[in-house]
């Protein structure tokens, strides 16, 4: 009984911890800046819509949101599909060199982004991909793929080892056993990987700043960074932009949550 209460209390505390700064961001986005720096209070005393208005009237904020959705969405689709193929092979097929491949895929993410950004810029420029969607999707796929592959390898490995053989006894080819038998069972894994990849792209700043040149291709983090003046940080607008930018992600996450639960109940265990 105490275990139950303790876990409930713990959960509430954790949720509060997670939600509080965001609550504060929402409150602040409706507060005049001078008030914020004068006497910050937990509960707002006056609310204004100025920041949101400025966001759409003065800065075309919809375009970066659109760009972020396109880039993140495309990258996620690629990472999950191509990554699933590779992860399946790496998890369920014995072939020479597989350890090296896994190590290499992991190693790619171990270089700090800032050291890669200069030569990567030169490469993308040589390919005439600066300020284009592919110019962002390609590097994102490259650097988000390792996580996707490693995650999916873990999920594939958890499945019973003889599933394919059972399917192939019934005459299925390896490909069919993969698509008809294995894949459906990894629903939760695919959904999780998709969410993680999507959010990685959504948040990514350095590459987006370096490989885009104008508002037509900026993503959300870049657009927000450009709100800043030389000395001034327009808090109201930045927080308003953040609140708006977080909404699509929260929606997508909520949608994927359903998938995870569905995948679960398919496995004959109570949710």
């Amino acid at each position: 009984m105490t275990g139950r209460i303790a876990s409930r209390v713990g959960l509430v505390l954790l949720v509060l911890f997670a939600a509080f700064p965001f609550y504060w961001a929402v409150v602040a986005s409706f507060t005049p800046e001078a008030t914020l720096f004068r006497e910050p209070t937990l509960w707002p005393r006056e609310l204004i819509l100025e920041h949101y208005r400025a966001l759409f009237a003065e800065r075309d904020f919809l375009t970066p949101v659109k760009n972020s959705l396109i880039v993140a969405g495309t990258t996620t689709v690629f990472c999950v599909t191509i990554g699933a193929f590779a992860a399946y092979a790496l998890a369920r097929i014995e072939f020479a060199g597989k350890r090296v491949v896994l190590a290499f895929i992991l190693a790619v993410t171990m270089f700090p982004q800032i050291s890669i950004v200069s030569p990567l810029y030169m490469l993308l420029r040589g390919m005439h991909l600066i300020n284009t969607y592919p110019g962002l999707v390609l590097p994102y796929v490259t650097f988000a793929m390792p996580l996707a592959v490693w995650l999916l390898v873990g999920f594939f490995r958890q499945l019973p080892p003889d599933l394919e053989e059972a399917a192939m006894v019934d005459g299925a080819s390896r490909w069919q056993s993969f698509t008809r038998v294995i894949l459906p069972l990894t629903g939760p894994g695919l959904a999780t990987t998709a969410i993680l990849t999507f959010i990685y792209c959504w948040n990514e700043f350095l590459f987006a700043l370096s490989f885009t040149l104008g508002p037509e291709r900026y993503t959300v983090p870049v657009a927000i960074a450009l709100f800043r003046g030389q000395y001034q940080v327009p808090w109201g607008q930045i927080l308003a932009a953040t609140v708006i930018a977080t909404a699509p992600v929260a929606v997508i996450v909520l949608l994927f949550q359903r998938r995870i639960v569905q995948g679960l109940t398919a496995g004959a265990v109570k949710g």
Binding site: L42, G83, R99, M110, R157, I199, W235
Partner: protein, 309 residues
């Protein structure tokens, strides 16, 4: 007395196995190589030269391991490494523990679970730079709500200037990182949790096992693969932490919160010392690679997974 053997048509031959394996892996490998190969090779090659962009008259001499030797004697590098290690150890540990707690809590059935999950993931959806600004704002000595709350509650007697002392400067930094990335760990572990057969728990409960026993003997061992992935990727990220600290403290006070990635950034993009910066990057790579290998040994997991017989 017939030996039980799979009919030849059912067991794939090793050669075609290997081919299928490579075929399936090829697209991913290609995607990675096309983009990653040049920058990685370039970085390694640069690290072997002395190259300062501001002084082209000094040329670009090949110095072999010269940069690496300089780094080994660079006190500021070792301090940065220490800061990075401190940050990584504390934040990863806290995130793992909190993440597991969160995952366990979210795994139970209760109403509003989906909404809670979405709410908990929100911090992670916020761009790092914004999250860093937000937390710096919260801990600001003048406008920060943290000081207001803590003094009102009585924990502090007067507002603290958090970012002016090394010890207190780490608090908002680590809090911000934990806040932002615990959801990632929780999600990973949750997915792993959901793959554990509930019947194991039922059997254990019937046998009278306590919740703690179930946690330590069933959950955690079966979660090892998920924990490994979480550990590796969180440590990787912690070792490359840059945006967060750059925005919150700039590495200060002095250089007491400067991590290696920020030091590398300064060398590369501020001071334009490309050779030295590249060498720093390679060292970061080597350290993180060694750590990943260590994790796998420590957790007793093989890269290739259990061998199929």
């Amino acid at each position: 007395m017939t030996p039980i053997q799979p009919a030849p048509s059912r067991a794939p031959r090793p050669e075609s196995e290997a081919r299928t394996g490579w075929l399936l892996t090829a697209p991913a490998l290609l995607a990675i190589l096309v983009i990653a190969l040049f920058p990685l090779a370039w970085t390694v090659w640069e690290s072997l030269h002395e190259h300062d962009l501001r002084m082209p008259w000094l040329g670009r001499p090949f110095v072999g391991l010269g940069n690496y030797l300089t780094i080994l004697h660079d006190a500021r590098f070792w301090q940065a490494l220490g800061h990075t290690a401190l940050f990584a150890i504390i934040s990863v540990t806290v995130e793992l523990v909190l993440g597991l707690a969160l995952a366990l809590a979210m795994n139970r059935g209760f109403r509003g679970r989906g909404v809670v999950r979405a709410a908990v993931l929100v911090p992670w959806a916020i761009p790092t730079v914004v999250a860093a600004l937000l937390w710096r704002f919260i801990f600001d000595s003048q406008a920060g709500i943290a000081n207001v709350v803590l003094t009102n509650v009585g924990i502090l007697h007067h507002p603290l200037v958090w970012f002016v002392h090394a010890a207190t400067a780490w608090v908002p930094v680590i809090l911000a990182d934990v806040w932002k990335t615990t959801p990632f760990v929780a999600l990973l572990l949750l997915a792993g949790l959901q793959s554990i057969d509930k019947e194991l728990y039922e059997a254990a409960s019937t046998d009278g096992a306590s919740a703690w026993w179930q946690l330590t003997r069933i959950t955690i061992p079966l979660l090892k693969p998920a924990i490994l992935v979480a550990l590796i990727f969180r440590t990787l990220d912690a070792f490359r932490v840059f945006d967060l600290i750059y925005v919150m403290t700039g590495g200060g006070p002095g250089t007491s919160t400067e991590p290696v990635a920020l030091y590398t950034f300064n060398a590369l993009l501020q001071n334009l010392e490309f050779g030295y910066g590249a060498a720093l990057s390679v060292i970061i790579f080597l350290v993180t690679f060694a750590l990943a290998m260590l994790y796998m040994r420590g957790l007793g997991l093989d890269l290739g997974g259990p061998r199929r017989r």
